[in-house]
Subunit: 263 residues, 2 copies
Amino acid sequence: MTAPRDIPNNLLESLKSLGLTKYEALVYIGLLRVAGATATEIHEISGVPRASVYPVLDRLVQKELVSVSYITPKRFDAVPPDRGVENLMRRIETDAESARAALDALYREKRPEGRGNQEQVWTIYGEENIRTRLADMFRSAERSVEVLATWDLLPESVLTLLEAVPDSVSVDIVTDCWEGERPSRFGIHVLPLATLRETRSPPGKLLPYESSGVFLVDDARALLWVGSGGEQPSALYSESAGLVLFVRRHITSVTEWARTAAQ
Amino acid sequence: MTAPRDIPNNLLESLKSLGLTKYEALVYIGLLRVAGATATEIHEISGVPRASVYPVLDRLVQKELVSVSYITPKRFDAVPPDRGVENLMRRIETDAESARAALDALYREKRPEGRGNQEQVWTIYGEENIRTRLADMFRSAERSVEVLATWDLLPESVLTLLEAVPDSVSVDIVTDCWEGERPSRFGIHVLPLATLRETRSPPGKLLPYESSGVFLVDDARALLWVGSGGEQPSALYSESAGLVLFVRRHITSVTEWARTAAQ
DNA sequence: TAAATGTTGTTGTTACTATAACAACAAGGT
DNA sequence: ACCTTGTTGTTATAGTAACAACAACATTTA
């Protein structure tokens, strides 16, 4: 194929991830604008080689994206886009569900192997995954939860998760600002963390201090949220004694530093 | 690869349709049962060649299915299945939505070409697609809607769609049985269609008469529902005068036949 | 016959699969 | 210090399968 002209490339990519091949996508798109076309017409419109049009149409019929008229020559028509996409998604969702079930069985079956988790530092990619891990940490807290984070992280990603912390556990939050009501069961400390921005290590260059957070549970498990500037965020999680101690010191020292600097 | 032992094949297929390759699926499955494994351990468990494990893991991290621990040697862990599948589905749903939007634009933009629809007979596959077409027919009815169908089709697939018929249009339903209340605005005729079963064309063989339906709108558009025995149902749709006339005669003759046979 | 339809087979291309070999490094033995 | 031994991570390079692109043929229709 020379030129799938005027077809936005990302549309082709999207359709591919729905399980269509390039030809299938082109033929379907072509059919959306011609009503009842013959194989040759489809070939002319879509740019797909005429010989390839036939098997491709077979597959599209199988996938419930086109309907056939059995006159000679055969004529084809596309089902409307919303219906068509729904037909594709139905299959995928079925697969997703059965995969989820099968994987979950494997997951539960053999997971006793809780090997040396304690000394490792895990890197977690993606906000969703980070939130899941945070939720696990909060839910399993037994004595204390400490949060040191810039305000921009708290409302959207953290505060709701904190409701899962058991009642008997103390929760302390250090942040640089607070809007809205203050939940009474949390110890909330608003400190001018923003002044940290003026710390310069490469002289003249401001350190960004946004979308960063540190979370410590029971003085035993720590998570460091790294914003990574607009990109997909990542985080470090560890139960290693060394890193936990470091985090412990970090929280106390930042708290102290900000408290004095405010005076 | 020789033996992806004890991995059900349909699980691999399901994961493939979620956008994973065979290796990606095998590695992810392997990681679900080992906690923090090294590349070599993953190779032993999953059967994937050791050299292939590294790029595969890169892709899995990119897809938010595994997390990394940067000690030497690197150790890897899988995100829980429900979260992992959700991560995959999120991408696909995004693609589906953007594809749907783009296709819809194309669809609306250029669709005036309502060429010679009138003489064609369209074959429609899949119950969902048939229902969509039926809904279109009912919604656009101007004078009359006639339904001749076995009862098993009506409640689950047809009755709700009939509510879209405009008020000024007469609706007549012929079926072999009726349960529940009878909507007053429909003309309902219960006839012993079941006796048709006893019509024998290949002597000694009963003709099935289930899940079949005939729909006629304005004496101009007809749809024939073909049950196709448990499989994906299909239907014929046409605006051709010839086929419409045939359906017209079919409905009246069956009605007459059943009425006399009942006496 | 001419033109168009539908089918078949072959070749190119790509992404994934599979194997082998290599350099870098650590542990252990002489 | 030197040399094995084994492991990690990387690279190169065949093999394979599905798709893409093309050519040739048989079949129908006008």
